[in-house]
């Protein structure tokens, strides 16, 4: 696995070197969160358009896998939707990697229900009770007499970990909770299930109804000014601080430029202020 990755990387480097006569510095490998993936891909496209001699590949294998890749030196930039855990930082140090954190944007987790659901607002406590299984029927929240179909992201995803941290307060999810593998799948399930509730990144609320949480609407403003209760920063991690003037440095700092902010907004996230 690792070996084949290295070989692929080697081949790509050779191809780039042959085409542009440049060295390995012009290749950037990005791996990690599926949430940050769209931003990283748009950044890569934009940057490669401006600098045709730079080659950037972006994979989305989950925040945890991104950290793993950085630790194994299989990527240059790890995109993550949560900060690195202490255990991961320790593993990185042991492997001789110094992870440096760059916050590139803000993301809110929207709580979504079927458009036909009469509910408009939910409190964090109610949300927690739904996910632990204490509240099992919409009637308890003033809705129709229907059992709630509770949908969560898989325990692998950064979205899950953020939800667990910001909402669940380390309480365990109930046994009836259904797990699905991506933001798009949560939206698909909620869109087709009248009694469902789920949580997704802000960019995934088309076709479903986003509830206000503690009376605050999930929007770009409320997330950027930290009013919305379930919001989080999105990260890129590099091995050491990238040197000024290198493509890697430019790429990571793209989020601070006006073009970068525009891209972030286009992808449904919120630029940091």
């Amino acid at each position: 696995m690792n070996k084949s990755k290295k070989m692929l990387a080697g081949l790509a480097v050779m191809a780039v070197a042959a085409a542009t006569n440049a060295g390995e510095a012009n290749k950037i490998v990005v791996d990690g969160s599926t949430t940050v993936g769209p931003i990283a891909k748009a950044f890569a496209e934009y940057y490669m358009d401006k600098h045709p001699d730079v080659n950037i590949t972006v994979s989305e294998s989950g925040s945890g896998n991104g950290a793993k890749s950085l630790i194994n030196a299989a990527c240059d930039v790890a995109t993550m939707s949560r900060p690195m855990k202490n255990s991961e930082i320790k593993a990185a140090r042991d492997a001789g990697v110094l992870p440096i954190e760059h916050i590139i944007a803000m993301d809110g987790i929207a709580v979504v229900v079927h458009p036909s659901n009469p509910l408009a607002n939910i409190t964090i406590e109610q949300l927690r009770d739904i996910y632990t299984g204490k509240i099992r029927n919409w009637k308890a929240l003033g809705g129709p007499d229907q059992p709630i179909v509770v949908i969560s992201r898989d325990t692998n995803s950064g979205t899950y970990e953020t939800f667990e941290t910001l909402v669940m307060n380390r309480e365990k999810l109930g046994e009836k909770v259904e797990y699905v593998g991506s933001n798009g799948a949560v939206r698909q399930r909620v869109m087709s299930t009248p009694a469902a509730i789920g949580y997704v990144g802000l960019a995934f609320t088309d076709g479903v109804k986003a509830l206000t949480v503690n009376g605050v609407e999930a929007s770009a403003q409320t997330v950027a000014n930290n009013k919305y209760p379930i919001s989080r920063p999105l990260y890129m991690y590099t091995n050491g601080r990238p040197k000024q003037g290198t493509p890697l440095c430019d790429f990571v700092n793209l989020s601070a430029t006006p073009e970068g902010r525009k891209i972030i907004e286009e992808k449904g996230f919120v630029p940091k202020h």
């Binding site: 989950g62 896998n65 255990s87 898989d154 009836k176 698909q188 087709s192």
Partner: protein
């Protein structure tokens, strides 16, 4: 070949089919190399099986050393990512068992009936068309099945699951009830004296038929009122897995039925048996072991399937209550392994990593057992047929 051509110009006076010593040596070396190559390739695939066993067992055993056997096999609390992780896989074993049983309930009667129809009922030309079409089911990629289950079947079950289930009950139940009423009436009427046999048969048939259809109507109405709150559940997955196992069951049982041979069938007809009697009393028992092997192969197909269950089973780690409630979401071994693999690593806690291998080992052992059983059944049948 090469050796012969190389040798031939010089040796024109030798007897035609003999090679020179040099050519023969070359040929022997070529044969040895060829055989060796084939042997290596064969042993490679055999070794692969042992290696898979070895590596999975090697990574599975540390889990049992860390956490012991008790929780894994007896607790239904599955919280591998919690701060105090719990690794109770009982609900996951139950989920795997439940969807496999469901798939068997869908695939076995339908598959065996289709096999009988193909081998003994349909004319030859129809069989030549229908069998490849059924086998085409096996060529559809599992992610396509999963997508269908998630996007089409799940919303459909949520919207009108009750009426659909009720219609399915009628489609399956009505012909069965009719056949049962006729057969039972026939058998019962034989006990009456000749004079009243005809009216008695009609009377029994009507009474039984009315009773059976009345029961169907009551059950159908009860089922039609069911509301399915979540369409990604054990029922959804069982239906899809059943369809996926169908080509295996049909194809292998049809081969078994074909292998029964003309003599047995003609013998049965010669004794005055009808086609139904021939199929039920002669052909099916003779092909029984082959059909059993087909069923086991179909079950293995269902239990090992990953993509469909990961997409459409709901992945809720719970034992439904009551246990046969197919309308509840469940979680299977394969989906758990696929879904939890990403984050589980030596870095993030080793029990969480090894528990997946413990599950893989359980699956592997089960499949191995199934495979051995089906091999044994087929071999025993072959010995019996030979004797």
């Amino acid at each position: 070949m090469d050796a012969y051509i190389a040798a031939s110009p010089k040796q024109r006076k030798m007897p035609p089919l003999l090679l020179s010593d040099a050519a023969r040596r070359r040929q022997r070396i070529a044969a040895a190399v060829g055989n060796g190559f084939l042997l290596a390739v064969t042993s490679l695939s055999t070794l692969a099986v042992f290696f898979i066993f070895y590596f999975i067992a090697r990574d599975a055993l540390p889990f049992f050393r860390l956490e012991g056997f008790r929780e894994f096999f007896t607790s239904a609390r599955w919280y591998p990512s919690a701060e105090q992780p719990e690794f109770g896989a009982l609900a996951i074993f139950a989920g795997s068992g439940l969807v496999t049983l469901g798939a068997a309930i869908v695939a076995v009667p339908m598959g065996v009936a289709a096999a009988v129809c193909l081998s003994d009922v349909l004319p030859f030309w129809a069989r030549q068309i229908v069998k490849p079409v059924i086998e085409l089911l096996a060529a559809i990629p599992s992610v396509a099945y999963g997508f269908f289950a998630l996007v089409v079947l799940a919303p459909l079950l949520q919207r009108s699951g009750g009426p659909i289930l009720s219609a399915a009950l009628w489609i399956v139940g009505a012909p069965l009830a009719a056949i049962a009423a006729i057969v039972v009436a026939d058998l019962a009427a034989e006990r009456f004296p000749n004079r009243v046999r005809r009216p008695a048969r009609w009377l029994i048939m009507c009474a039984l038929g009315a009773g059976a259809f009345g029961a169907l109507a009551v059950a159908g109405k009860a089922i039609a009122g069911l509301e399915i709150s979540s369409g990604t559940n054990a029922l959804n997955v069982s239906i899809i897995l059943g369809i996926m196992a169908l080509p295996t069951v049909v194809s292998v049982s049809e081969d078994a039925l074909q292998a029964v041979g003309r003599e047995l069938r003609e013998g049965s007809y010669a004794l005055g048996a009808t086609r139904a009697e021939t199929i039920i009393r002669t052909v099916l028992p003779a092909a029984g072991s082959g059909i059993l092997a087909a069923i086991i192969l179909g079950i293995m197909r269902a239990i090992g399937e990953t993509m469909v269950v990961w997409m459409a089973s709901g992945n809720a780690a719970q034992i439904p209550s009551p246990w046969f409630n197919y309308l509840e979401p469940v979680r299977t071994l394969t989906a758990t392994i696929a879904g939890d693999m990403g984050e589980a690593d030596h870095v993030t806690g080793s029990a969480r990593y090894h528990v997946l291998f413990a599950m893989a080992l359980s699956l592997l052992l089960f499949s191995f057992l199934c495979n051995m059983t089906s091999e044994w059944i087929v071999r025993r049948a072959r010995r019996k047929a030979g004797a």
